[in-house]
Subunit: 354 residues, 2 copies
């Protein structure tokens, strides 16, 4: 079901203007509204759309305002739009706006969404019609949403060149805590340690630290709303981070190289868990246990050997007890692959079992 | 003083082979040695140099072996090289190898070094002659090093297209703890939280989390040596990270938006402290204190207004006491700029003083 338009964009910032430009690229009529006249001038000057006129009845309203104003702006859109107009938002949390409109008589025409794209820049001048090409875009329907409204929002995702990921609101908020909010917060903490560096030390900054801290260049006012609006889910993942940093401090203090290597191997398995650019389907897994001698290099050797088996490791858990001569490592692999991995590890001299 | 060669590379991994290729690009004769015959075959097959022959007397030996073998390999190079041959290494810590050779009779011809470039890949096949172009390269002379030896190593840096940063060994190790080892370790911890994600949640991974976790894709065996070899300096910075993560957890738990924003603003100032690609000279600074109302958005507004003054903020410290109506923010700026900033902030309605 393709969009026919017009599409109204409420909030002509980076994301709103980029959606407007992508809709224009797809040949749709776009109406722009914003409380800041200078944003409207910039966005319409970029060819992102025209100003609202009396009698306009958009097919879809996209609310793209800062997180703290989302609930009110979605309600207002439902109040003022036509009787069949669908309303979505692009806020980075999804339970809170859903709660804010749950008692609205037109709640069946609201479907939340969240494009996984952005920039450390902000404002309409940084906007781009290609911002969403190939990126995931969460579509989050509440319990009262009608299927037609969901389809309209999915058509917007398609028009913007992005890929729909359907999730419930709770799952969405947990997922972005892990994949976006905690990485952002911790990138800020790491960047903060640079602010205290002795003169001259930062001359040694290479690409690594630039990559790690890039997202910390985002607008603190915006991100404190985003992260603060998802505080519970963020705190849960951040507590895991804190626990592992404590493990790292212990390992550094006791010169426990195996403990340090465990953390790094676990991180490596995490980088491999990130799906390709075009998303990946969740998989059923089975587990292989391997005995690993407790000295430096063994975990890396295991990981290398497992890699050579051509079986993809989906997750790793390490039962590491410093002082014991042997630890147990659990490797999760896709259903049906455990046999291949076991055989390969066995032939390379590892003691492994299911 | 240009290099004449030959240059001997001990250890034909990613870094060693890249240096060899860069030296070949500069027209130098390169001799390759490695305990692994397959690395030698690959590197010489790439045109990185020739195998060692009896009677070879290199002008410079570059030791590029894993961290735990550095001390022994540098000693061996000093033992076996010619009477005027200079020896350097490219290890990522610099105090430990210096200590390992301090009693060697030829210690005056050893000068440590450390190119700030690499890859999450490893081995000679990932090598590139351009790996060091425009990158900082620390040159770390011990107290007994003769000036001629320092010049030879600086000539290598130049031949590789990199930029010399002279530092003492203690300063170097503290600097890389902050700019490299702690970011690596924390990137691994963040990546580790992805390994535990619910099925489907990682489909929302965007560019941000990929950037934050990229370096966690490095070889755990190698990085546990690198980070473990600099445990003291790493633990010191990591303790600051832990402290700020505790602050973040407190702020999330008490819905303290200003506390959260403080952390993000501090991070933003850190991203701005990273010098441009070609390094930056350390600067003397002076401090401006600004009174900031204790509610969300004010810190971001201050930072925006300060940015508009065209004075560069070198560092920020925030004295944030939740519950007090006003906090004090310290802005460090380059010597001579405090007046301009004060005037600008004053005209925008801020209460500020030196």
């Amino acid at each position: 079901m393709p969009l026919n338009g017009p599409v109204e964009i409420v909030g002509a910032g980076l994301i709103g203007t980029s959606i407007a430009l992508a809709c224009r690229r797809a040949g749709l009529e776009v109406i722009l509204t914003d409380t800041e006249a200078r944003h409207l001038r910039t966005a319409s000057g970029l060819g992102a759309g025209r100003l609202r006129e009396p009698g306009d009845v958009p097919e879809l309203v996209v609310v793209a305002v800062p997180p703290d104003h989302l609930g009110a702006a979605i309600r207002e859109a439902l109040d003022t739009a036509g009787p069949t107009t669908v309303v979505t938002d692009v806020g980075s949390v999804k339970q809170a706006p859903l709660d804010a409109v749950s008692d609205h008589p037109a709640v069946s025409r609201y479907v939340g969404s969240h494009p996984m794209a952005g920039s450390e820049q902000s404002g309409p001048l940084a906007a781009s019609a290609t911002l969403f090409d190939g990126r995931p875009w969460a579509v989050v329907a509440g319990p009262s949403a009608i299927p037609d409204a969901v389809h309209v929002v999915e058509s917007l995702v398609e028009a913007c060149g992005a890929l729909t990921v359907r999730l419930g609101p709770g799952d969405h908020d947990k997922a972005v805590a892990r994949t976006s909010h905690v990485p952002h917060l911790v990138a800020s903490v790491i960047a903060g340690t640079l602010a205290g560096a002795a003169p001259g030390h930062l001359a040694l900054s290479g690409q690594g630290v630039r990559d790690v801290t890039r997202i910390a260049g985002g607008d603190p006012g915006l991100y404190s709303q985003i992260i603060g609006g998802n505080a519970g889910a963020v705190a849960e993942v951040l507590a895991q981070v804190r626990q592992r940093i404590d493990l790292a401090l212990d390992a550094l203090g006791s010169e426990d190289r195996v403990g340090l290597e465990s953390l790094l191997v676990h991180g490596l398995s995490g980088t491999r868990a990130i799906p390709g650019k075009h998303g990946g389907a969740p998989q059923a897994t089975e587990t292989v246990w391997v005995q690993v001698p407790d000295h430096p290099g063994e975990l890396a050797r295991l990981f290398g050997d497992a890699g050579r088996s051509s079986v993809n490791i989906e997750d790793v858990r390490i039962d590491h007890d410093p002082g014991r001569p042997v630890g147990l490592v659990e490797l999760d692999v896709a259903e049906g692959s455990a046999g291949t991995l076991l055989e390969a590890l066995d032939s390379m001299g590892w003691t492994a079992h299911r």
